[in-house]
C-alpha cells in the first residue's frame, strides 16, 4: 500500500459524516408540503423493509434457519413484544435450527 491508511479513513469518515449531517442541519424548518411530509413519513418503513428482506435470508449459514428466525420475529412483533425480545428470539431460533439443518 503506497497510500496512507489514516488518510483513507479520514476521507471516508468525512464523506460519510457530511451525508449524515447536512440534511439534518440544513432542513431545520418544518416542511409544510403535504406530499413531502407523507413521503418522509413513509421513508423508514420502505427502507427498513427493503433492507430486511430478502437480505436476512442470506445473513446466516443456513437459509431455512434464517427464514425461521424471520417468521418468529414477525409473529412476536405482531404481538408487540419489545425490540430486544424480538431480536433475541430471532437469534435463538437461528441458533437452534442450525443445529438440525
Amino acid at each position: 500500500m503506497q497510500h496512507n491508511i489514516y488518510l483513507y479513513i479520514l476521507v471516508m469518515a468525512t464523506v460519510t459524516y457530511l451525508i449524515r449531517v447536512l440534511p439534518l442541519t440544513l432542513i431545520q424548518k418544518e416542511i409544510k408540503n403535504k406530499t413531502i411530509r407523507s413521503f418522509l413519513y413513509y421513508v423508514p418503513y420502505v427502507t427498513l423493509s427493503v433492507m430486511t428482506f430478502p437480505a436476512i435470508l442470506e445473513a446466516t449459514n443456513n437459509t431455512y434457519a434464517a427464514a425461521g428466525g424471520f417468521l418468529l420475529a414477525v409473529l412476536l412483533a405482531w404481538f408487540k413484544r419489545s425490540l430486544f425480545q424480538v431480536s433475541i428470539a430471532a437469534c435463538a431460533m437461528v441458533f437452534v435450527l442450525e443445529m438440525f439443518l
Binding site: Q2, H3, L7, V11, M12, T14, V15, T16, Y17, I19, R20, V21, L22, P23, L24, I27, Q28, E30, K34, T35, I36, R37, S38, F39, L40, Y41, Y42, V43, P44, Y45, V46, T47, L48, S49, V50, M51, F53, P54, I56, T60, N61, A65, G69, F70, A73, V74, A77, W78, K80, L83, F84, S87, I88, A89, A90, C91, A92, F95, E98, M99
Partner: protein, 240 residues
C-alpha cells in the same frame, strides 16, 4: 426538562442493547476481513469509530487492499452511504425543535440504519437524548467488535456469529410490524417493499444493482408513490 432528557437517554440505552449485540456480531466479521488485508486492530478500530457503517466499511476494506485512489474511495462511500441522506431528511422533521442546532451535529454522527430506525419510530417528537442513549451503546460495540475481530477472529464459534447476525434484522422487524398492524397503508407498504426487494434481488439486470443503490431507488419510488396515493394528515406524521 433534565429528567425528561434522562429518561429519554435511558430509553435510548434500552433500545441500544439489541443494536449493540447485532453490531458486535457484524463488526466482528468486519474485523476478520480487515485483518485479512493487513489492516491493524488500531486502524480498524479507528475506522469503525469514525464511520459506523457496515456496507461502507466492508467495501472500503477491499478498496484499500486494492490500493484505490482517495477520490475513488470518496465516490464509493458517497454512493454506498447515500441512503443516510434520506434518513437524515426524515429525522430533520422528527427532532424536537426546541433543542439547539448543536444537537443535530452530534446526532448526525449516529445516523446508522438501526439508530435511525429506533429514533424515527419514537412516539411524538424526538428528544436527542434518546438517540444519544442508543449511540452510546451501539457505537462502542461496533468498535469493540471490529477490534476483537482483528485480534481473535477465530475464537467466536461460527454458529454463534451466524445466529447473532440476524439480530439487526429482528430489530427492523420489531420496528415496522407493530405500526403496520394498526395501519393498512403501512401494512401494504411493508409487504410491497419486501416483495419488490425480493424481485430486485432475483430478476436479471436489476439484481446486479448494489444493495445500497437498491435501498435508495426503491425507497424513493415506493415511498413516493405512497405519498401521492395516500397523503398523510398533518398530525399523523409525527407519530411515526
Amino acid at each position: 426538562m433534565k429528567t425528561i432528557n434522562n429518561s429519554n437517554y435511558i430509553d435510548g440505552l434500552k433500545s441500544g442493547i439489541p443494536i449493540a449485540m447485532g453490531y458486535f456480531a457484524v463488526s466482528f466479521t468486519l474485523g476478520i476481513a480487515a485483518k485479512k488485508v493487513g489492516i491493524t486492530a488500531a486502524q480498524a478500530t479507528i475506522m469503525s469509530i469514525t464511520n459506523s457503517t457496515s456496507a461502507g466499511e466492508f467495501a472500503a476494506i477491499s478498496a484499500i487492499a486494492a490500493g484505490t485512489s482517495y477520490f475513488e474511495l470518496a465516490v464509493m462511500q458517497f454512493v454506498i452511504n447515500l441512503r443516510y441522506m434520506l434518513m437524515s431528511c426524515s429525522l430533520s422533521q422528527k427532532i424536537d425543535r426546541s433543542f439547539p442546532i448543536i444537537h443535530r451535529f452530534i446526532m448526525g454522527f449516529g445516523i446508522t440504519d438501526e439508530i435511525f430506525g429506533v429514533s424515527v419510530s419514537r412516539k411524538g417528537k424526538l428528544n436527542p437524548y434518546f438517540t444519544y442513549g442508543a449511540m452510546s451503546l451501539a457505537i462502542p460495540a461496533w468498535a469493540m467488535g471490529t477490534m476483537l475481530g482483528v485480534i481473535m477472529g477465530t475464537v467466536l464459534p461460527g454458529n454463534v456469529v451466524s445466529a447473532l447476525s440476524v439480530a439487526l434484522y429482528g430489530m427492523f422487524i420489531a420496528i415496522i410490524i407493530p405500526p403496520a398492524r394498526e395501519n393498512k397503508v403501512l401494512a401494504g407498504l411493508v409487504a410491497v417493499s419486501m416483495v419488490v426487494s425480493l424481485l430486485f434481488s432475483k430478476l436479471p439486470f436489476v439484481k446486479s444493482i448494489s444493495a445500497g443503490t437498491k435501498v435508495i431507488v426503491l425507497t424513493v419510488i415506493i415511498a413516493g408513490i405512497a405519498a401521492v396515493l395516500f397523503p398523510v394528515e398533518e398530525d399523523d406524521t409525527d407519530a411515526a
